[in-house]
């Protein structure tokens, strides 16, 4: 295949794609990135908080260079019913140590910066056009078709995200089931920087990540999120597609009700919605991952379903960045050795096994199943929490019952065996 147009073609200039292209270009390979957005990030949405460790591995100077919104110094998790909300608020100086910290990001700013890094290293970019199909020869990927153009390469890297229309042709991956994927909906709500800091009790330039469970999805499997940006708040929901489809409340109505909840409304009061977005989230974990390579092709990031949604934490960007880094390196090595067959590319999977990507996905591989089956987490447990807290905090002159008695009464409604059973299963899955 000495007559290929490029050494490598990368589909998608998201987190995985731009990093993979950077690694290839840095290794001196000719690389073309095809991105369907008119600029990097134009089609992308995230929650979003980036755990910076993976980016730091690729770009040690990212702390001063990357367009981060705010450093996250407050972690909040909440359990809500329609009329109550119990929040845990955590902050520590350890969260601010280099390599352990995380930042809120907006993709329309972040992705062009990342693409710029690859471009500076020598990668070429085409924007505004989607790859429609893969060129195949004797069962091997040998290039792409985009519009009228057919472009060939020794190796193609699919970094086209959760809604990949190409993995089926590349590795025979069937469209995932509606129970394995969640729909994400989000609004960006503009507010002055000082107001944001005051409302989440953060120091200047710092911010909060806040995850919600319970009434935010009207009891369906999923959760709510809030991340503070410099001058806006990202507020949204993630809910399993099959479960939303089976319930009575549309996901956009859930978001509206969430915004009006007594513990969320004051947070966004006076803010102006500036964008309404939607994007999917893979939730099935390791069990829904496609094969990561085949002859002439590698798959990295969410096109390979690398994402972890634990309710108190959503991770996909750091996986995509690390997977892009290893996919790019493996491809460069295979090109140098003159062999981009499946066997030669298989060291990519090995690299991810030794890295946090597949280690963490394996560690939590039971969690998706637990979440799906533990619907009490979204309904009964928030109510239980409310009953306990009401009993503890409300004073109205009637004789107070001992806490133990109140607790037992509240637990009785859920069933002690359910509670203990769910707790044990949850511990195992985590």
């Amino acid at each position: 295949m000495a007559d290929c147009d490029f050494d490598a073609i990368v589909v998608g200039a998201g987190c995985a794609g731009s990093v993979a292209a950077y690694e290839l270009a840095k290794a001196g390979k000719s690389v073309l990135v095809v991105e369907r957005g008119n600029s990097a990030g134009a089609k992308n949405m995230t929650g979003g908080r980036l755990y910076a460790h993976a980016l730091k591995e690729v770009f040690p100077d990212c702390y001063t260079e990357a367009p981060f919104e705010r450093r996250i110094t407050h972690e909040r998790i909440s359990m809500m019913t329609p009329n109550s909300n119990m929040t845990i608020d955590f902050g520590s100086t350890e969260m601010e140590v280099a390599g352990q910290e995380s930042y809120s990001v907006l993709r329309a700013d972040f992705d062009p910066w990342l693409a710029g890094k690859a471009e500076d290293a020598g990668a070429e970019f085409i924007y505004g056009i989607a790859v429609e199909s893969l060129l195949m020869e004797d069962g091997r990927v040998k290039g792409i078709k985009a519009g009228e153009d057919e472009i060939t390469a020794e190796v193609v890297l699919l970094c086209d995200g959760v809604n990949s229309l190409l993995t089926e042709a590349a590795v025979g991956y069937k469209r995932p089931d509606a129970s394995q994927i969640a729909v994400g909906i989000k609004q960006v709500i503009a507010l002055p920087a000082g107001t944001i800091e005051d409302r989440v009790l953060a120091a200047e330039g710092d911010g909060a990540a806040w995850l919600f469970v319970g009434d935010c999805t009207r009891g369906r499997v999923g959760g709510g999120f809030m991340y503070t940006n410099k001058e806006s708040i990202s507020l949204g929901l993630v809910a399993t597609i099959s479960d939303v489809a089976a319930g009575p409340v549309p996901v956009y109505q859930m978001l509206e009700d969430f915004k009006n909840h007594p513990s969320v409304a004051p947070l966004i009061k006076g803010g102006k919605v500036v964008e309404h977005s939607g994007h999917m989230v893979p939730e099935g974990g390791l069990s829904m991952m496609p094969p990561l390579c085949a002859d002439g092709v590698l798959i990295a990031g969410e096109s390979a379903m690398m994402c972890l949604n634990l309710g108190y934490m959503v991770r996909g960007m750091d996986f995509a960045i690390a997977a892009g880094q290893h996919a790019g390196r493996t491809a460069a090595e295979a090109l140098a050795a003159g062999d981009t067959s499946k066997v030669a590319l298989a060291s990519y999977q090995k690299a991810l096994e030794e890295n946090f990507v597949l280690k963490d996905l394996r560690q939590f591989s039971k969690f998706p199943h637990f979440m799906e089956n533990c619907t009490r987490l979204f309904n009964e447990y928030p109510v239980l929490t409310r009953e306990l807290m009401n009993g503890m905090f409300i004073v109205d002159g009637s004789p107070m019952k001992p806490l133990k008695q109140q607790g037992l009464a509240a637990v009785k409604n859920v069933g002690i065996f359910n509670l203990v059973g769910d707790a044990m299963k949850g511990m195992k899955a985590l």
């Binding site: 992705d111 959760v162 806006s232 479960d243 009575p248 964008e275 309404h276 977005s277 939607g278 999917m280």
Partner: protein
Amino acid sequence: MSHTKSTELTPITVNVDEYLGLNKYEVDEENPHIELVDEPEDKEFLKLIKVCPAALYKIDASGKKQFDYAGCLECGTCRIACGDSIIRKWEYPQPTMGIEYRYG
């Protein structure tokens, strides 16, 4: 899953079209990138009403099913929900067309 199946819809109080109006789009009037089958089944269409984050699947006052691809966020949710049933075609929009996030 222990949830009971529901075919009921709660009352909708939100006007999502107003929010979509805040987004930036390059609408391709000529080429619908998503198409439904001719006679979409009620049960499947109801799923799309609930899962599309842009609320593009609607039943109008006369009971007619409506879908307008112009406000599409290109998320793929309808493809996952009903790709085997009533979604006949799901493609990305033509070059340079569709949603363009300014925040993301």
